[in-house]
Symmetry: C2
Subunit: 256 residues, 2 copies
DNA sequence: CCATCTTTGTGCACGCGTTCACAAAGACAT
DNA sequence: ATGTCTTTGTGAACGCGTGCACAAAGATGG
């Protein structure tokens, strides 16, 4: 059941909190950039700024991994890159399949950021027979009939779903039955999966709606605070300006 | 500063918790589906299942909006659709610009799910002069030189960034200076914005890394629990099977 | 009008995540 | 060796989010 009644604290993956896990990739990216600039060490303060988080939070996050810093100096960049990579399981290769090679699926297939970490597009799968055999991003699209074989042959455990919403659950079921235990879902559907299977979803529409909510609230707040101060300003059709509002209160960056 | 030192509780947008706001689109989607099937009313239990959440959570979420249910009956679907739409600001039209019309930008432009709610692609913007004037999803791509004019003319307050990472901050700065106060960022970059501007990010790479972490953990757990029980099973090269693991503990669905 | 039954709305307790603030650790200079 | 200075690692407090469990509300039937 996707409702996910969690018996256990839900996050004792070996003591590493879920929120911390979600930030590790962020740290890793910042560290990789430093590594490329041959910076040997970095303080929690510097790294936190680069990653867009609080330095205390970063230190606590790292403390779950172990004591990898040196007091008075900071963290060794290379060493930390390795430790985080290992913790995230990026030292091994992760074959990934993308199911549904339409606009979005093709874009993902073409995305270079995949291979940069341990992820490799093992196969592209689509139900449209006229797509079969066509090259997308240098990989031949295969038919969904062969899904099970493809998963098995390549030892795939991570699947990406970019089919229309209507087909998502069905595709998900087949992926899971074939052995996939992690799914990244781009379709606007609530997937139901057995226990032990992780689903993460990316939903553009939801993100926009959340932004719209705050946008509306900002507009209302501005309107509510405007009259007392400058009441007789020219009633332009567009009252919007490039300023930063009366006082922001929403954290600008949110972990996905 | 994107670090977002929050003076206020960070979420008293008028009492509606941020976590609730993030779920409203989910409820709205489920309700819309019911509406299309002409279902007049729905109980919290049914709707919660459809949205993939706990029914108590759903009721509490709705309680922030007001008392829109009828005890013993449930919620009026149409009425709730309207109330949530209004709360999210979807009763008005939101012009959106997409900056960076490459693989991903083009896919988003072609995405139908945009218009379904109040979002309208007002303009497509790219820095590549050879793209200027080209039609993508029926809309002519405009040059980034005209960004400010486009924002202003169309009264755009929401921008989507799909440029390479290196250009994202620069594009963001221009969008903000031109009056955009909400940004959806697909580039793998931590954006720094002034207070009052909301940034949400969608990061495929991070999602995959989080999945990889759990995947690795599941594999380790399986290995640690296997030996005591069935030690002498055929040492196949692939020990992975389609079962549901010893015990899942991660909530399958996570709000972005 | 009353009894029963369903379903909402919420008080309450609990746990996770965040942040502060500081003691301990170690580098580095003298 | 000793002192100073920087920065880590973490104890503790607090606030947000979640889920249980139940009283109140209202529908429905007799
Ligand atoms: N395009 C976007 O920017 C975007 C954004 C957010 C969400 N989404 C979602 O992503 C999904 C894909 O969007 P898109 O624009 O690429 O759509 P699309 O129609 O271009 O592509 C869908 C592809 O899936 C294939 N397909 C259909 N049923 C299948 C099945 N059972 N098995 C395998 N393949 C199947 C189709 O042949 C097609 O190639 C949709 O659910 C959409 O809502 C898209
Ligand atoms: N393609 C994906 O699936 C995917 C997935 C996750 C993240 N991303 C990220 O999304 C971004 C876009 O990815 P893509 O695959 O579409 O890349 P792309 O190279 O295909 O497209 C980038 C586009 O941005 C334009 N551009 C560059 N600088 C610009 C500027 N200053 N102003 C306006 N436009 C500019 C380029 O001309 C190009 O058309 C990247 O940051 C990438 O890391 C992509």
């Amino acid at each position: 059941m996707a409702t996910g009644r969690n018996h256990r604290p839900a996050t004792r993956s070996r003591g590493i909190p879920e929120a911390t896990v979600a930030r590790l990739p962020l740290y890793l990216r910042a560290l990789t950039a430093l590594s490329e600039r041959s910076v040997p060490t970095v303080s929690s303060e510097e790294l936190a700024t680069a990653a867009g988080v609080n330095s205390a939070k970063l230190r606590k996050d790292f403390s779950y991994l172990g004591s990898y810093g040196t007091r008075g100096v900071g963290y060794d960049v290379e060493y930390l890159v390795y430790q985080i990579s290992r913790e995230l399981g990026l030292t091994q290769d992760w074959p990934v399949v993308i199911v549904g090679i339409g606009n979005l699926g093709a874009a993902l297939a073409n995305y270079g950021g995949f291979a940069s970490r341990g992820f490799r597009v093992a196969a592209l799968i689509d139900a449209d027979s006229s797509m079969t055999g066509k090259q997308v991003a240098g990989i031949a699209v295969q038919h969904v009939d062969d899904l099970e074989t493809i998963i098995d042959t390549n030892g795939v455990s991570i699947g990406v779903i970019t089919t229309p919403g209507g087909a998502a659950q069905q595709v998900c079921d087949r992926l899971v039955a074939a052995g996939v235990t992690s799914i990244l879902n781009f379709a606007p559907t609530v997937l139901t999966v057995p226990e032990g299977v992780d689903v993460r979803k990316v939903d553009l529409s939801i993100e926009l709606q959340i932004l719209a909510f705050h946008e509306q609230r900002k507009a209302a707040e501005e309107l509510a605070q405007e009259p007392p101060s400058a009441a007789g300003l020219p009633a332009a059709s567009e009252g919007r300006r490039g300023d930063q509002g009366p006082d922001g209160d929403i954290p600008a960056v949110m972990p996905a």
